[in-house]
Structure formats: C-alpha cells, structure tokens
C-alpha cells in the first residue's frame, strides 16, 4: 500500500507526521485526515478553524489539504450566507499564517547568513591585521 504523510498546519507551527502510514489510496488517506481533524478540533472548534491537515505522498509532495472550518459540523447548520463568509475568512487567515511562517523562515535564513558573514568578515579582518 502507498505511504502517506500528514502535516498539521496550525497558526504557529507545521507539524509533520515523520514516519507516515500506509493507506490504500489518496481517498482513504483523506478520510483519515478528516478523522484526525475531528479529533484535534473537538472542544476547541472555533480556535482551530484556520488549522489544516495536508495529505502528502511518500515523497512529501502535497496531494490535498483539509481546512478544519470546512469539516466542523457545529457550523454546518448555518445558512450559506453566513457559513460561506466564515469559510472564506478562515481560508484567508490560513493563507496569512502561511505567509507569516514563510516570512519568519526567510528572516531566520537572513539572520543566519548575516551571522555567517560576520564570522567571515572577522576572519578576513584578522588576517589583514
């Protein structure tokens, strides 16, 4: 059976399931992801509406992504004119989280590069002296 990995995306973290698990196909892996989302959402539904689970194949290529807000049955009774804006907002908040995390990653890389540059410059200055 093919191996799938699940990646939990919260507002502040990316949590990968490093070992992965075997599922008959992508649809079965998505079903598992939905059950996991329900486990994680339970008793904190509103807080987790912007969370997502990404289903990846064995090479860690993303196959699909499930937004918790779309799976939350506690808001499924809402009329479409209320539910849809809520889903749109949750999706945009999730995209914003992605952007902030990417920015943090870039800043960390820049900081590392500058630190490395400082070391190199100090070594060069030392040689000159």
């Amino acid at each position: 059976m093919p191996l799938y990995h699940f990646v939990l995306k919260t507002r502040h973290d990316r949590v990968p399931d490093r070992d992965g698990s075997e599922w008959p196909n992508e649809a079965a892996a998505r079903e598992e992801a939905a059950l996991v989302a329900h486990d994680l959402m339970r008793n904190q539904e509103v807080k987790t509406h912007t969370w997502r689970i990404e289903v990846c194949d064995e090479d860690l290529r993303p196959c699909s992504e499930l937004l918790f807000a779309e799976l939350d049955e506690s808001v499924s009774h809402l009329p479409p004119e209320l539910r849809e804006p809520h889903l749109v907002t949750s999706r945009r908040m999730a995209a914003l989280s992605d952007a902030i995390l990417a920015l943090r990653g870039t800043l960390a890389q820049v900081s590392e590069t500058l630190s490395h540059a400082d070391t190199v410059m100090a070594a060069i200055s030392g040689k000159r002296a």
């Binding site: 949590v15 990968p16 399931d17 490093r18 996991v36 486990d39 994680l40 339970r42 904190q44």
Partner: protein, 238 residues
Amino acid sequence: MRNACLSALSSDALSLLKPYLTETALHEGSVLWDATKPSSEVYFLTSGLISIVVPVSDGAFVEVGSICRQAVGGTIFAPSDSYTQGVVQIGGHCICIPAQHLFFVAKKNSEIENLVNYCRDWILRQAQQMAACNAIHTADERFCRWLFQAYQRLDTDIVAVTQEMIASLLGIRRTTVTLIAQKFQTEGIIQYRRGKIAILDQARLRAAACKCCNNLARKHWPSTRILDANAVKLRGQS
C-alpha cells in the same frame, strides 16, 4: 518495588492479609477481567499499569481509569458484575489475594476496611473525572494528562507505551497521537522512540495537561489516604 497500599498498612493489618497473598507476573496485553471472565482476585500491583477500559464498538475501548502500585485492581467491588475490562498496558508484577478473603478480613479490621473503601473511591473518582475530561478537554490536553499521570504513578521518566496504545485508551486516531507527540517533541517536552516516551520536561508537560491532574493528584491516591489515616490515628493515641 512494593505495592504502596500494602506498604502503608500497619504490621498488624498486613499480617492478617499475608497468609492469602501470592505473587504473579502481569503480561502486557493480557486481560485480567471482563464481562465474560469476571475476576475473583484483587491485584496489588508492585510494578506495571492496568487500564480499566469500557469496550465501545468494533473491538475499540476507552479508558475510564488506571491502576498502578498506589492502588488495587480486580474485584474490589462485590459482587462482581463488571462490564469493564482490566487490561495490562505495561507489564510488571502484582500480589494477588482472593477477593472473598480480602472482604472477610476487611470486616474484622478497620484499616483493611479503609483500604478497600479508598480503592473503591479511587476507581469511582477516576471514572467521574474521565467522563468530565472526555467531554470538555482537547486531545492535546488529554494526551499530556495521560502521560503525566503515568509518569507520576510509575515514578519513571521513561514510559513504555506505544502511540497505538495511547490512541486506543483516549479514543482517538493513532495519527492524531503521532502529530501531538511530534509537536511536544519539537517543543522539547518529550522524546518518542520505539515504543517509549521519555519525559524531558515534566513541569511543561503538567502545564500542557488538563486540570484533571489536580483532581487525581497524589493526595487522592489510596496509598496516601491510608498513610494519612494511620497518621491521624497515631496522633489520637499519643
């Protein structure tokens, strides 16, 4: 290592039980009792962990309490018409006594009677707390609560437990436990490796657990209550 309840008894009370006590091994995964196989024994654990679980559907079950060396498991309620199962989750050893002998001695000795009552209270207390916990707490909090309690009761930083086992006991998916464990591993609170979870930062683990830990804390353990009752009795005598 000894059972803390037996250790807490006075030598007079312990001598009443001694003729009936036998030592036995607890093998991981074995079912000590269930609805079809009621136990006639009471188990004083000296090591390991027994989960008291309620079967739900398709072979699945949910934990409603656990027993380590601070309490006893088995037929502590009489007569036994239990629909729970007692499953050895972490193997170890225990000292057994036929339930009828324990209850017989309890009628004659107030200290043993207290032991039986405290152990019954403990099982009821855990079941009530688990009902509340399952209803209102998150999967993360429940995972940390289970692990923190195992750490406290087994008195070890390394708990021999698989993700599958924790998932079954908490009634959640194994993948959910994997993701939660990964998160706490990244934060440096635990380290998971081949069926063992090392607790690296017990203060942060406790902080991440639900407040159910407080209501099931050491002062409520049967062994602690026996010690407290004996201390009060001694103060009264002096």
